[in-house]
């Protein structure tokens, strides 16, 4: 610890053998990690490291990792749940949380050892950070520059609404919005990022404009000249709409301006998280790949001790462990394990391809692995990434097999295993696992009866004959609260036959 603040303090010099972190050590480690990351050409937002304690980590958990969020009972529930399981020792807290913002904020827990802090810096502040900055989904759908401003705006706005319209009213309304959160995601291109000030002005404008629109749409005075056109009966909306919250925000007749704004806030938040839900395997795989690569480079350069690298490897192996299907620890495929293995595998294919690889991946064998890996991280989401890059080598390594569960048959069937015949099937089926539309029922706004009882009809398009869960009754109550008039939900099977699932009349 003799040289403290010179520019490259430990080059050729080993970091001290201590397990306790200090601010100086974090600074010095970060310096080295950044240097190595730069050498590999990682493109990142500037980094801010924040030291927090375990309670603050639990706070962050319950706000889905965001530094601030509007208040709602469900976050309180989340907090109590986390606290309880943490106290009972059922779960450890994550070592890190990182926020997709510019500058990128990474939390370091005070309980972590120095090795763990270094791991977190490499993993979150450089791995995740560069993924956030470069992946096309994040680029298109989230705006790292303005997210903190927007969260602050929404927190204040909802707080203001609570003051003006009553806490309970706002809470019930938020409940309803949260129910449909996953159906508030927009596939259109996002608007340009704006500041808090602009957001406020726009909100005011939107409010006035929307209100005037609503009054127009529901003008009920019949016009004599229209009687011809009426017979044609235009459908509304003309095409089914997948963004249910957006549709309600723009078209529900009875909502107050503040309620429309709250729907918008929930929808925007959902959209901000949407890319994370679509890139879990890639994002974690990428971050694991980089902490592994960077810390090993540090070891190779002689910067860190054997003890350091052993502790690191211990944690690393735990993170990327994949239990077998018959293990009692098995709870599905571990995204860290799959992602990390795939990233490592791509590097292997680039550097040391086998005959099989030449056949399966003619485009990437013997290319520059950094370029190839960057290309993969930038231009895919989990679904397409697996469809593109899952190699037979990995399928063999994981010993993947495919199980078909058809409720019309009495037994399960093994349809594919890790052999020549099975590779394609497994690759495709696994890729489908990560398609969100495969997990989430496909439900769209089908029709509004705008000449009659103003009822809203949602339609569920079945996939593989999968039915909706009973929770549909509860959710429809919330839809009705938002829409304000009768609501119905129908289901359409793959042959096109439509049947009514649930309906709520005006008085229900």
């Amino acid at each position: 610890m003799n040289k403290k603040s010179s520019k490259k303090p430990y080059i050729g010099n080993r970091f001290p053998e201590t397990n306790e972190w200090t601010f100086e050590l974090i600074n010095d480690y970060h310096h080295e990690i950044k240097r190595i990351a730069d050498e590999f050409g990682l493109d990142t937002y500037p980094v801010v490291l924040e030291i927090i304690n375990s309670e603050q980590m639990m706070d962050a958990y319950s706000a889905a990792g965001m530094p601030l969020r509007y208040s709602h009972w469900s976050y309180g529930k989340q907090f109590l749940h986390t606290q309880q399981s943490y106290k009972r020792g059922q779960m450890g807290l994550a070592y890190e949380i990182v926020i997709n913002s510019n500058p990128c904020i990474a939390y370091l827990m005070e309980e972590n050892s120095m090795t763990m802090q270094a791991l977190v810096i490499a993993h979150a502040a450089y791995g995740h950070n560069s993924f956030f900055k470069n992946n096309y989904l994040f680029e298109t759908w989230t705006s790292a520059d303005s997210i903190i401003d927007y969260l602050l705006f929404s927190k204040n706005y909802i707080n203001e609404c609570e003051g003006r319209y009553g806490e309970e009213t706002v809470e019930l309304f938020l409940d309803s919005c949260h129910c449909l959160m996953n159906y508030g995601v927009d596939r259109y291109k996002r608007p340009a990022s704006i500041t808090l000030e602009e957001e406020k002005i726009r909100q005011k404008e939107r409010e006035d404009y929307l209100q005037s629109q609503v009054n127009e749409i529901w003008k009920t005075l019949p016009k004599k000249e229209d009687s011809d056109e009426k017979k044609k009966k235009k459908r509304f909306p003309e095409e089914p709409q997948e963004n249910i919250l957006y549709f309600i925000e723009k078209n529900a007749p009875l909502l107050q301006p503040w309620q429309r704004e709250i729907i918008r806030i929930v929808r925007k938040t959902a959209q901000y998280f949407y890319p994370q839900r679509q890139t879990q395997v890639m994002n974690e795989g990428w971050a694991c790949f980089w902490h592994y690569t960077i810390l090993n480079t540090m070891y190779d350069e002689g910067l860190v001790s054997d003890r350091f690298i052993m502790e690191f490897l211990h944690s690393h192996t735990n993170v990327v462990l994949q239990p077998d299907y018959d293990s009692k620890w098995y709870s599905g495929i571990n995204p860290y394990a799959l992602g990390f293995a795939m990233m490592m595998d791509i590097r292997r294919i680039c550097e040391k391809p086998t005959e099989e690889d030449r056949h399966w991946f003619p485009d990437i064998v013997n290319t520059d692995w950094i370029k190839t890996l960057n290309f993969a991280a930038q231009n895919f989401k989990d679904e397409s990434f697996i469809a593109q890059y899952l190699s037979p080598e990995l399928i063999r390594k994981f010993k993947f097999f495919s199980i078909l569960d058809d409720d019309k048959k009495k037994t399960f069937e093994v349809t594919a295993i890790h052999n020549d015949k099975g590779y394609q099937t497994i690759r495709q089926t696994l890729s489908k696992h990560y398609d969100l539309s495969f997990y989430e029922p496909n439900i769209q706004v089908y029709e509004v009866n705008h000449t009659g009882d103003r009822s809203l009809t949602l339609r569920h398009y079945q996939c593989d004959r999968k039915p909706l869960d009973n929770s549909v009754d509860e959710v429809m109550k919330h839809v009705k609260r938002l829409w304000g008039f009768p609501v119905r939900i129908e289901t359409q099977d793959e042959k096109g036959k439509v049947s009514l699932l649930h309906a709520l009349r005006d008085d229900e």
């Binding site: 974090i26 600074n27 310096h31 801010v48 490291l49 924040e50 030291i51 304690n53 309670e55 603050q56 639990m58 706070d59 208040s71 009972w73 469900s74 309180g76 529930k77 907090f79 109590l80 749940h81 606290q83 309880q84 106290k87 500058p103 005070e110 809470e171 409940d175 949260h178 959160m181 994949q322 077998d324 299907y325 018959d326 098995y330 495929i333 994981f398 010993k399 993947f400 097999f401 495919s402 199980i403 058809d406 409720d407 037994t411 399960f412 093994v414 349809t415 052999n419 099975g422 497994i426 089926t429 989430e440 996939c463 004959r465 999968k466 039915p467 909706l468 869960d469 929770s471 959710v475």
Partner: protein
Amino acid sequence: MVHIVDRRLNGKNKSVVNRQKFIRRYKTQIKKAVADAISNRDRSISDIDKGGKISIPRKDTDEPVFHHGQGGVNNTIHPGNKKFIPGDVIERPNSDENKGSQASNDGEGLDDFSFELSKEEFLNFFFDDLALPNLVKTKLASVEEFTIAHAGFSNVGIPPNINIVRSVKGALGRRIALKNPLRKRVKILQSQLEQLEQSEVPDLKLINDLELAIKKLKIRIHAIPFIDDFDMRYNNFTKLPRPVTQAVMFCIMDVSGSMDRVRKDMAKRFFMLLYLFLTHNYKKIEVVFISHHTTAKEVDEEEFFYSQETGGTVVSTALELTKEIIHKRFPTADWNIYVAQASDGDDWDIDPQKCRDILVKDIMPYVQYYAYIEVASDLPQSLWTEYSKIEVLFDNFVMQKIKEVGEIYPVFHELFKKQSIE
């Protein structure tokens, strides 16, 4: 140089608002859970002012979303194949078994959502149940109590606190101190003046000078104020923590067959409330449990609430025992004595009169407060009639008939009222 922020010291308790919202929303469920916890065997009377773990049904806290139900075609990938080849057929696991294993995954079972309530939160729910007036709630929930006491005098303060006697005394002293030297000089000058005037050839100029000097001195004397700002003295007050002493609480309960679970539960709350009141007034509290049927004995809390006895009832045996214990172990000079008695009002033949005698002669003179509840009886029982006569005699004897827990508070009404006046 990377930007490192140490956040550990700020932004704690960010989730407090969310937590409060959660608790408010599930008030009904939590209230029920708190009530269950109080009736619970593990929770002793003296645990009442601690927080505790509470479980509420998980399904109530669910947030519904659209999702797929069971059925249809599911094609899934799993790792770690050891024995399967394509075309293998696996028996469908029994769906009931499946559920069973799921429930045991979590230590508590998936049906409950459990979390910790803090002491304040716990008490709040307890009070709600007992229908306590707000003033009392705040009194009991507040951690420390103070009495206002005189603490000498101060020379700053507000007008209502002026101490007139002190101020005037001070002013007098000051006036004497300032005037006396001047007066002495006036006297000297005056005697000189008299001598001059009596001389044969008065030196008019000198007389004139002397008269002028005397006049000036008199003006100075006159200018000394009767009372001045710095004479003011104000009464000074200070907050003293309420003096801590010790108290003993006697819990007397009829444990004969007619006191069933529900009645005992109600009685437990009654004892808890008194205990809670005492914790806020006394540093050290001892609790003596006396249970009786035809004979009385001192027991521990577990036996007190949960043992089941049968047979008749002779209340006076318990009172005799109380009297004895008071005499032996709790000299009234050192102990404040509180007695809480719960019974269903049933008593043996002429025993009530005997009870009255013991109470009036040997117990009431020594105790601070005696509260009696008669649990769930419609017609006035013999004991009630006799006790009514005592109520007239003593202010600190209170009795009440109780059918539900909300009716317990009035028993202590007087007790709390007295406290508020103090």
